[in-house]
Amino acid sequence: MSRTIEIAGQILDHIGDRADAEVVVSGGESALTRFANSFIHQNVAEEGHEVLLRVAVDGRVNSAATTNLEGIEDFVDDTIGIASLQRVDESWPGVTEPMDIVDPHHFDDATAEANPDERARVVAGFVSAAPDLLAAGYCETMGHDVAFVNTEGHRAFGHYTRATVDGIHQASGTAGSGHGTSPRLGDLDGSDIGALAADRARRGLDAFDLKPGEYQVVLAPEAVATIAMFLSFYGFNGKSHAEGQSFAELGEKQFDASINLYDDVHDPRALGIGFDAEGTPHRRLDLITAGVTKAVAHDRRTAKKAGVASTGHGSPGSEVYGPLPTNVFLEEGSTAVDDMIAGVDRGLYVATFNYCRVLDPKALTVTGLTRNGTFIIENGKITGGVTNLRFTQSFVEALAQGRVSAIGNDARFADSEFGPGMMHVPSLQLDAWNFTGGAAG
């Protein structure tokens, strides 16, 4: 039996009938090998358990977390004691009834047990893909168990692994990026990912300053992951939606008919476990189907307010930030990226967006920059690198009807700059993207 299940059971026993409660215990090891200037300079790992406890004493709610398993009984008593002194939380949805949980099986023993030598070999592959360039990035492995119990008798257990290689190669004044994420370290080839980064870096040599303006774009999966992440976190967020801060209008055709976006931990390519922090099972949630906005994500609290069922997107902090889809898939198309580029007379190929921030949540207008690979396309061919550009663009408008020229056949996990393993997306060819500044401002 996993130690997490044992700890969760002990906590529930100590709570007894003093409160409604839900307990999440996670434990495992995470390790990350980091390199810069083409050598490993930081190399870290951690092990441990963390307990999340949420209690409701006659509707008076309190949440707490601890890593201190020695003092767990005091921790439980304090959490209940503080709850009992609070006001009644009128929005408290109660704890989850027992429900069947389906394990998505995203766990790999070899990845959970990966050692620093194995991570170093992946790094060596990335670095040696271009010995003449300067490499920087990381290789991470993690394996975690998660146990959930509550006072309604609901029990769930899951475990998952994740491996990521992410890095850049740098040539004089330019850089190119590569990324891979999988439940299995064995799926990731540092050499291949390093070769892509090196190719982008070399193509960007002698980059020039391009006049800002509206351009056709071909966006690589990393750039598309940023769009998908902002759509998901700001728009398909049940709390933002209820507060009138989301662009999402259910049932409305807000996107091009070619766009299908869904959240599904049970997709064989996904990462994660089969339930959320409230014990609600994850199931596929269609967010956009044929361009029509279909749903937003809910935890139990936002679901109660909206009069619907939780979609299984509760997380620690979702009371404040709202429920967030984090197993997002943008359905891939059939166009090869070279064919997308061939279809552009004059435009830009963008590898990655960087430092994106929302200016207007309702329109999802975002400003950010290009990074690690920005290239001019002329007459259907990449003809050179350009220096990084700033954009100010509504992400919803960019994907509106008639503005999506092609969807790539190259879907994969791509880092949205907010973390790996959340957005599985292809390249996109878009009719217009509004670049508002260049190297000179």
């Binding site: 190399n43 990381y138 920059l369």
Partner: protein, 479 residues
């Protein structure tokens, strides 16, 4: 607790580390959020563990465990050394450590009122009152209040003989009010966006008088809905202190981090437009610009006794009369650069590797004041309170949005305008600083959410600033 840290260090040395240090950290955090007069979340967190850092050749190895037994600490030390040795398969140059005095000492944040001794219900009641006041203004759809407190004990031991205990207390919060129009949301925040945080106790929260400001802030949010947009153009830009503080954080604070300058953060946080060859010759900005990194400022959020590798807190000149003269550094980066270590290496908890972080990177006050600056401005805009921030990976090309602005015409504050933004390039922008308010308006603004590193670490940093004016800035950028 020193014994636990000592066991971790001994474990690393026994496994072959040339240097090791360890931190035992016991921390608690309380966060309270209220929305529209209802408690939204009440969270407590206690985290305890030991993190040990071992140096072998060119790489740090780091291992952390939440198991607070001596055996686990010793095993963690052994693992940290093994991890650093594994790095040798992709080796680099040796990582020397600059010398620092070896001390046995302790430090405690001065505070008047233990924030954890104030009943949670009192805090909730105060935030409910604030949101009630804000909601009493017609047109306010959302009113939210937040408070957060941290109490951190750290015991640091190094293989060179350091033994340092620190007890740090940090407090703060804020509130915001939002008016939702047909196709827009306008939000106003107080004391600044994300709240104001300082080292100290609950007295820091009381000082900002949230209830006394809730009505004004809510009225401003509603007024913004019917305000005109700021027109695009180039004009004098006057920044309120908290926005200038964030400008310093993003376009100075990160650029002067020595690990970025050395390329250690190239893949994620980025590098810097600065290079060491230009230290003491590069003009960062106008002669009004004097920036220090000062970890000794009483009450500022980035204040402590010692950093997380045992170097004493200090004040370092960064920009003097507009000239770039200093960096943020640690023992390894300073040694490589041939500079004195600045005591600016900190970690986000026991389970993260210490890295170069801002302390209190702030601008010394000038000799003017906001009223005088406005009176001296013929055609400008006064912007307050950050709404969005974006800057490139070399810290050059930035665009900021603020919550609110007012036109300034012929020396007078004019009509309110909404969705104000401005953009620029770091050295050109700072060269245009031509007026700076003085000590009466100088505030130690705190940033509680500075992200950096992999795995991600969040640091608490301070940025002292007073309002300032910049000539001919591009404003009103939009999609």
């Amino acid at each position: 607790m020193f014994d636990l840290a000592q066991a971790a260090v001994e474990g690393a040395l026994a496994a072959g580390a040339q240097y090791a240090d360890a931190r035992v950290v016991v921390s608690k955090n309380q966060s309270i959020a209220v929305q529209n007069q209802e408690p939204q979340s009440i969270d407590q967190a206690e985290r305890a563990g030991v993190g040990v850092r071992a140096l072998t050749g060119s790489a740090w190895g780091f291992y952390a465990t939440s198991d607070m037994s001596k055996a686990a600490a010793r095993a963690a030390g052994k693992k940290s050394a093994a991890i650093s040795r594994a790095s040798a398969s992709v080796p680099g140059p040796a990582m020397p450590l600059a010398d620092v005095p070896v001390v046995e000492d302790s430090y405690e944040t001065p505070f008047d009122e233990d924030p954890f001794a104030v009943p949670v219900s009192d805090k909730v009641d105060m935030l409910i009152e604030v949101t009630k006041i804000a909601q009493s203004v017609d047109g306010i759809a959302l009113a939210t209040g937040n408070l957060s407190f941290w109490d951190t004990n750290k015991w640091f031991v190094s293989s060179q003989g350091h033994r340092i205990h620190q007890h740090l207390v940090e407090s703060g919060g804020g509130f915001d009010a939002s008016a939702v129009g047909e196709s827009e949301i306008q939000r106003r925040s107080y004391p600044q966006s994300f709240g104001q945080f300082e080292t100290g106790g609950y007295e820091t929260v009381r000082r900002w008088d949230y209830p006394g400001n809730a009505g004004r802030i809510a009225e401003e949010a509603v007024a913004l809905l019917s305000a005109p947009e700021l027109e695009e153009g180039e004009k004098s830009l006057i920044l309120e202190g908290s926005q200038l503080a964030l400008q310093i954080h993003e376009s100075v604070g990160h650029a002067i981090e020595l690990d970025r300058i050395l390329g250690w953060e190239a893949a994620f946080a980025g590098t810097s437009h600065l290079d060491l060859e230009r230290l003491r010759t590069h003009r960062y900005g106008s002669p009004l610009m004097n920036i220090t990194a000062d970890a000794t400022l009483p009450g500022a959020l980035g204040t402590f006794g010692y950093d997380d590798e045992g170097t004493k807190a200090q004040r370092v000149d960064i920009v003097k009369d507009g000239l770039w003269v200093g960096v943020l550094s640690g023992r390894d980066s300073a040694s490589i650069a041939g500079l004195a270590p600045g005591g600016m290496v900190r970690a986000d908890g026991y389970n993260r590797l210490p890295m170069v972080r801002m302390t209190n990177v702030g601008m010394l006050p000038g000799d003017s004041n906001l009223a005088e600056i406005i009176a001296d401005t013929k055609d400008g805009v006064y912007m307050s309170t950050n709404r969005s921030w974006s800057i490139d990976d070399r810290r050059l090309n930035f665009q900021f949005g603020c919550e609110i602005a007012w036109e300034v015409k012929d020396g007078k504050l004019g009509r309110m305008v909404k969705n104000p933004t401005y953009t620029g390039i770091t050295p050109q922008f700072w060269a245009q600083l031509d007026k700076l308010a003085g000590g009466d308006e100088w505030v130690h603004w705190g940033t509680p959410n500075c992200g950096k590193g992999q795995p991600m670490q969040v640091a608490h940093t301070g940025h002292s600033a007073a309002p300032g004016r910049f000539a001919e800035v591009r404003v009103g950028v939009r999609a």
